[in-house]
């Protein structure tokens, strides 16, 4: 396959607070290919959003980011200066956040917000000096005759907003939640990116609107060939949208596989547990299968596998450092159960009937 669009190798993000340091991301590696939708799925505190922010160099100064490699389209992102990163952000890499109401500026028209990105990253030859920008935003309101404005209207049309000329002159609060998220996507497209990082882009939306937005993202991928890193907690969204997926838990990657393979043949006890704990439309279980306990404190993670305390199959080796096992081509699992020398009585763990939960709620 072609060169990856994004390559991450052994990424660590550590947050320093007054009295402790927290490993929010603990040595993860993955790569995204051109035109691919790559999913990172995990629960809150798993480090999935921090991963995206660290790629964009958007973390606060108390975050310490280290990695063997963070390469985007062949260039090293870690060695970039602040100003170089600024021109990449919103340009070649752009980001979509969960809550469009908080990430759009409430006092500037949505068209102007998109046009600004166009001016900064596109080749429209319009001045972006401060005085000009202030005049556009607060005095003239719309720069209707400019190339950047026309491009903004075009983009709004691309993301399926009806009557884009009128909508472009409206403020975020005048739009519905779904419309605002489309505006965010249009803004993300304005710099003509080759990679979009989407952090829970549909979590705040209703299911019917969610379907519209995800379809929109996939259409854009087909049309423009952008790669998408989709961060979500929703396995259903992953299955419907992504090509490949990584399951994240307590800052570490537990399992990486093509979407089809992950859902048909999950090889990590955590992935399995997650899937079994979701109520489905087509099942009629009286009680759901539950992963006992809760996520470990990131400041005091147990040595070895972070999932060992909640895992029904944990054994002595689980306190040793995790290593990735390739169970199938392109399917990596970080779990000691895939070692050659696991104890005999655990040998059955991989049989389809193996269940080690009592179906109760945890204590």
């Amino acid at each position: 396959m072609s060169n990856p669009m994004l390559e991450i190798e052994n990424l660590h993000v550590e947050f320093e607070t007054e009295d402790e340091s927290v490993q929010a991301v603990d040595g993860i590696s993955f790569e995204i290919h051109p035109g691919e939708v790559y999913g990172i799925v995990g629960e809150s505190g798993s480090g999935k959003s921090v991963t995206a922010l660290s790629i964009m160099a958007l973390l606060d100064s108390n975050a310490n980011v280290t990695a063997d490699r963070v390469r985007f389209d062949g260039t090293d992102l870690l060695s970039k200066t602040d100003s170089e990163m600024r021109s990449i952000r919103g340009g070649e890499i752009s980001m979509i956040f969960q809550d469009p109401m908080n990430s759009l500026n409430p006092v500037i028209t949505v068209g102007e917000q998109i046009a600004e990105v166009v001016r900064h990253h596109g080749d429209v030859n319009e001045s972006t000096n401060l005085v000009q920008e202030m005049r556009r935003k607060y005095v003239t309101g719309t720069s209707a005759d400019s190339a950047s404005w026309r491009r903004a209207v075009e983009l709004l049309e691309t993301v399926g907003i009806p009557d884009p000329e009128t909508r472009a002159q409206e403020y975020p609060h005048q739009l519905s939640g779904g419309m605002r998220q489309r505006v965010m996507i249009a803004q993300a497209l304005a710099g003509d990116p080759s990679l979009i990082l989407a952090d829970e882009p549909t979590t705040a939306l209703d299911v019917s609107i969610e379907a519209q937005i995800l379809n929109q993202l996939l259409d854009l991928r087909d049309e423009f060939g952008v790669s998408v890193l989709l961060i979500t907690h929703d396995l259903g969204v992953v299955r419907e949208t992504c090509d490949r997926v990584a399951v994240m838990y307590a800052g570490e990657l537990m399992e990486k596989a093509a979407v089809e393979e992950l859902f048909e043949d999950p090889q990590h006890p955590y992935t399995r547990g997650l899937m079994q704990s979701i109520p489905r439309l087509t099942d009629d279980r009286e009680m759901l299968d539950v992963i006992e306990g809760s996520v470990p404190n990131l400041a005091a993670k147990p040595p070895g596998c972070p999932f060992q305390d909640r895992c029904a199959w944990a054994f002595e080796a689980c306190t040793q450092p995790l290593e990735e096992h390739e169970v199938d081509p392109g399917h990596d699992v970080a779990c000691h159960l895939h070692r050659e020398d696991i104890p005999e009585e655990l040998g059955e763990w991989n049989s389809p009937t193996a269940v080690r939960t009592d179906g109760g709620d945890d204590r």
């Binding site: 379907a211 109520p279 539950v290 709620d361």
Partner: protein, 385 residues
């Protein structure tokens, strides 16, 4: 409770409906909110109302779980709060255990509180940040003269254990807990005075996937132990299907379809229910085609459509009757227009026959099923007013 009944056999339902009177019964329930208006508009009488709940009939049996589903802004939260008398209804009546509770004195209201309890969506916001868990759980016991002093402390410890926490947690503050633990505290508060009915408003939607399952299982266990009835309000159809005996689908302040859960999921009749069911992301199989997305967004509840509330977005729009006449809930059984749902609804069972208790509010029910299958709705822009 439904575990022994098979999936395909429809619930007869009639014996529970006639034998015992329902625990809670609401008739033509309405809740309107005044919009923010200036003084001049108020004087001129131009006050507008948000019709959050606009004429809802429902009944809840003892030890039954009724699921209420709908998208944000459909009025499901308001419905729950009006049923629990946290909001005063604008119109209609509510009966609880055979007594009319629409208008109550504050003393009667306090008594009612010990029988209807509420679980809130946001477990952090619903716990007072300056009170310890012991105080939060002890308060209802005090108010309703259940226990004081040492007895209260013991009861709080019991409650904490009941919901899977430690008695020592009583001295901690809500912010010291995780989201799932906070929701356990919220549930402990609700069961502390052993109510008959708990209205749970999106109790798991703020929680992580693995924690959701823990809480849902716990709610089921507590229901059996304390003989509770639940009104389970949620936007997640899979969760509602898992926990409910009956399901109501709400849209724009109206119930558009209701019935035993098997009927709703195996034989959905209202176009809105079908659209919701087909738009749920599923992990069971990679969809061959993408989910059918509903067009547009719901209209404003300040000025709802005069006919069917769904007529502005309906993929099966018939004609002017949809825009002009408000359809009433009618039984689906034996209606000419009741037909199998399209294939993109994952739970559809072809040979399912709906019981009498399955109701939908749609003009299609009176038309012929063949016509419905072959019908092509006019585009949204080309519909009558």
């Amino acid at each position: 409770m439904n575990s022994l009944e098979s999936e395909i056999e429809p619930e007869t339902g009639t014996e529970t409906e006639t034998a015992a009177e329902p625990l809670l019964k609401a008739t033509d329930l309405q809740k309107y909110f005044e919009t923010e208006t200036g003084l001049t508009e108020r004087i001129l009488g131009n006050q507008q109302y948000v019709k959050a709940v606009d004429g809802v009939d429902l009944s809840i049996d003892r030890q039954e779980t009724v699921g209420v589903v709908g998208e944000s802004g459909c009025g499901k939260t308001t419905l729950g709060r009006t049923l629990s008398k946290l909001y005063e209804p604008t119109g209609g009546t509510i009966e609880f255990d055979g007594e009319d509770i629409t208008d109550l004195s504050s003393k009667e209201l306090r008594e009612l509180r010990s029988r209807i309890q509420v679980i809130f969506q946001d477990p952090l916001s619903s716990l007072n940040p300056r009170k310890t868990v012991g105080e939060i759980l002890g308060k209802p016991l005090e108010i309703h003269d259940i226990a004081t002093g040492e007895a209260k402390r013991e009861r709080v410890a019991e409650l904490l254990e009941e919901v899977g926490l430690q008695p020592s947690h009583a001295s901690r503050y809500p912010h010291e807990f995780s989201g799932g633990q906070r929701q356990r505290i919220g549930i402990a508060r609700a069961i502390s005075i052993e109510p008959d009915l708990i209205i749970a408003d999106e109790p798991v939607s703020a929680l992580d996937v693995s924690v959701q399952a823990q809480i849902i299982n716990m709610m089921k266990r507590l229901q059996r132990k304390y003989d509770l009835s639940y009104v389970f309000i949620a936007h997640d159809l899979s969760v509602v299907k898992h926990i409910s005996d009956r399901v109501m689908v709400m849209y724009l302040g109206n119930i558009v379809e209701q019935g035993p859960k098997d009927a709703i999921f195996n034989n959905p009749q209202h176009p809105y229910t079908r659209a919701l069911l087909s738009s749920i992301p599923t992990i069971d199989e990679t969809p061959e085609k993408r989910r059918t997305a509903l067009q547009g967004t719901p209209p404003s509840p300040i000025d709802p459509p005069s006919g069917c509330p769904f007529s502005t977005r309906c993929p099966e729009y018939i004609g002017p009757e949809c825009s002009d006449e408000h359809p009433e809930l009618e039984t689906v059984a034996d209606k000419p227009g009741s037909i199998d749902a399209p294939e993109d609804v994952p739970t559809i069972l072809e040979e399912y026959e709906s019981p009498e208790s399955h109701h939908a509010a749609c003009h299609w029910l009176e038309r012929s099923g063949d016509e419905r299958w072959s019908h092509e709705a006019p585009a949204i822009g080309e519909r009558g007013e």
